[in-house]
Symmetry: C2
DNA sequence: CTGTTAGCGCCTTCAA
DNA sequence: TTGAAGGCGCTAACAG
């Protein structure tokens, strides 16, 4: 069975193969592929049939090249982890949620998303990867980025970059973050003014993470504002539940009689770990000690006691950052823009508030769409 | 200040710019960029300096084209969701974990990952996206894929495809899945033989998801094996915690006096939702009713009662699938390969087993590295 | 309505 | 050790 025109089977069909097979020019095939009009109906039909028969799919690299746009954006997430082990079995939900927001924005315009996780303990390797990604996309989103400013500048000179939960003062990129300061403020005020907490224990996030340090700073700022309130101790966590557990073990190993009034965690996962460990040790939350988190992850609402926390619009963060990036890809001359998205205090039971229903009601209010 | 050679600043530097600026040919620059030897030291030095000065980063699309390889693989995840609303605030941890596995494999060889989520209620749109992604990668991983076989065949004709937790009998692609059958088997046997459960309630996953239906089938198969055991009812969930909650509400609305002995959930998230709802309703787990899950997500271990479940090596699934895909990219003629990865029964408290420590000990065992 | 023809930026023989 | 030059597959004027 001779193949009339010698189309190779093992090789992927190209535009030329289709053109030849259909007896038209490549320009016509291209028009058909992109649904442009100005092609006679029967010609289009014929081309379509050949495309179908050959299983033709245009090559993305070639398209990117010709139209000088890749229609891909990169998402880089910087992760903190315990140096030697890799025990972290739980994903960093924050990044995952941003990812969702970005991906759904992109899907609407049919762009693609390239993603890579970086290690904050390997700046050189991270930079290499960032360059590699920068070579394959039209713009980049960087989460929790502790990329040196000069490196960022270099990358930003090539393609637009938007920072998410990063350094908001970075001059070479747009930035979107949650209002960590306001959120922490509201949370601590609640603890102090409603529950009369005076002695606070802090479970902090990784100091490299900008939002961890913002929450840390805000906590101490509020506390300073009250004469009588103090941070009695702190544990350096890394946002994973396990670090909440370790923090509590350390705390309890020091004293079981003179406990703080509340534990303020830099995120929900650590709060969940902390609560678990406290209960394991026979302590009751919030009766013996209050615990609060930050993020408002779904699992915190399912906990007993349900977690009092600060809701930050993570997904929205991703969407907004993505929108801005696309805008800047269209017009690189845009002025730099940085923005804090509002947070919301979510009061449940772990702070000492009673009630049964606030959980559900609150969440509904929270889910503003 | 005249720019000696007229390099445009607003435009990204190309290989030619570097070559001209350094007074060498593009071939030489290319050699330097790729660290090939056969370039005199001082020449290399000069080129390197120009690269640095210009902030040159080679264009990925052009590289892909020239070397006929993109060094990118695609990860497509098919998601089930409640038709109209988009309430699902919790990410599908399964996919996230696979993503981790794949990404870390890829990072080692410096390849990139393109990712896209598909909707199982939009097969046409999904196929479009799959084609789009197929155009930009060297191979694809498809999670929980319910892509029609003929469509898959078309894509597979162009680039290699490996299915993860998909239809294991798909002839056009390699496939890696957890041993859902064996896992469910072990779990149910435990419930029946150790705890004497006779009446089981099922909270199933979305029927489109291959692993959900495998678990479903296995459950019924085991039950049939015992004469005296029955599945007294089932709720059609969609893997989200909320569906576990709804399932329990429905169950309790039907009867509060004649409860089943245990609730068997198709994954941990639904089990967590179910436990939460049961406790909310004043029932005690496992005293009044046992609940078991599937997956062994970290949050299940932190629950009280800690969740009895089946561990499946999700991350490993990603790694293995990825390794296979890379292999097949190198050699497309490989014979089809399908594999079930072993699961492990993780006994904690929610099934009725006592003890305090199994949680931690088990997990350590489970984390085999 | 359809075809011709330059590139897009890089890699890679093949020569020198 | 270095350079010249032909693609890679597609797009987008520009002609006809």
């Amino acid at each position: 069975m001779a193949r009339p025109t010698g189309v190779s089977v093992s090789q992927n069909a190209t535009l030329y193969d289709v053109a030849r097979e259909a007896g038209v020019s490549t320009a016509t095939v291209s028009r058909v592929v992109h649904g442009q009009d100005g092609v006679r109906a029967d010609t289009r039909q014929r081309v379509l049939e050949v495309i179908e028969a050959l299983g033709y799919i245009p090559d993305g690299a070639a398209q990117s090249m010709a139209r000088r746009r890749k229609e891909v954006i990169g998402l880089l997430a910087v992760e903190s982890r315990i140096t030697d082990t890799d025990v972290e079995e739980e994903g960093l939900l924050f990044e995952e949620e941003v990812l969702r927001g970005v991906e759904s924005s992109l899907r609407e315009i049919e762009w693609s998303l390239m993603i890579s996780f970086l290690r904050d303990d390997d700046p050189v390797g991270s930079f290499r990867r960032m360059q590699k990604v920068a070579a394959q996309v039209d713009g980049m989103l960087v989460i929790e980025g502790i990329v040196g400013s000069e490196r960022l500048e270099r990358l930003a000179a090539r393609i637009p970059i938007v920072l998410i939960a990063g350094q908001v003062d970075e001059p070479h990129a747009d930035a979107f973050s949650a209002d960590n300061h306001g959120g922490t403020m509201a949370l601590v005020q609640h603890l102090v003014e409603v529950h009369g907490c005076r002695r606070l224990h802090e479970i902090a996030g990784p100091p490299q993470a900008p939002d961890a340090s913002q929450r840390h700073a805000a906590l101490h700022e509020v506390v300073r504002g009250y004469g009588s309130v103090t941070v009695t101790g702190m544990f350096q966590g890394w946002f994973a539940a396990m670090s909440g557990q370790l923090a509590v073990r350390e705390l309890l190993s020091q004293t079981r009689t003179d406990l703080p009034d509340a534990i303020v965690c830099a995120n929900d996962q650590m709060a969940i770990g902390a609560i678990h460990e406290l209960e394991e040790a026979g302590l009751r939350v919030p009766a013996d000690i209050a615990v609060v988190g930050f993020d408002d992850m779904y699992s915190g609402a399912l906990l007993s006691p349900a977690l009092t926390t600060v809701r930050q619009p993570i997904r929205l963060l991703g969407e907004r950052a993505c929108a801005r990036l696309l805008q800047r890809i269209e017009d690189p001359s845009l002025a730099r823009h940085a923005e804090y998205l509002p947070t919301e205090l979510i009061i449940r039971q772990s702070c000492g508030c009673g009630g049964q229903e606030p959980t559900r009601r609150r969440r509904q209010l929270g889910a503003r769409r």
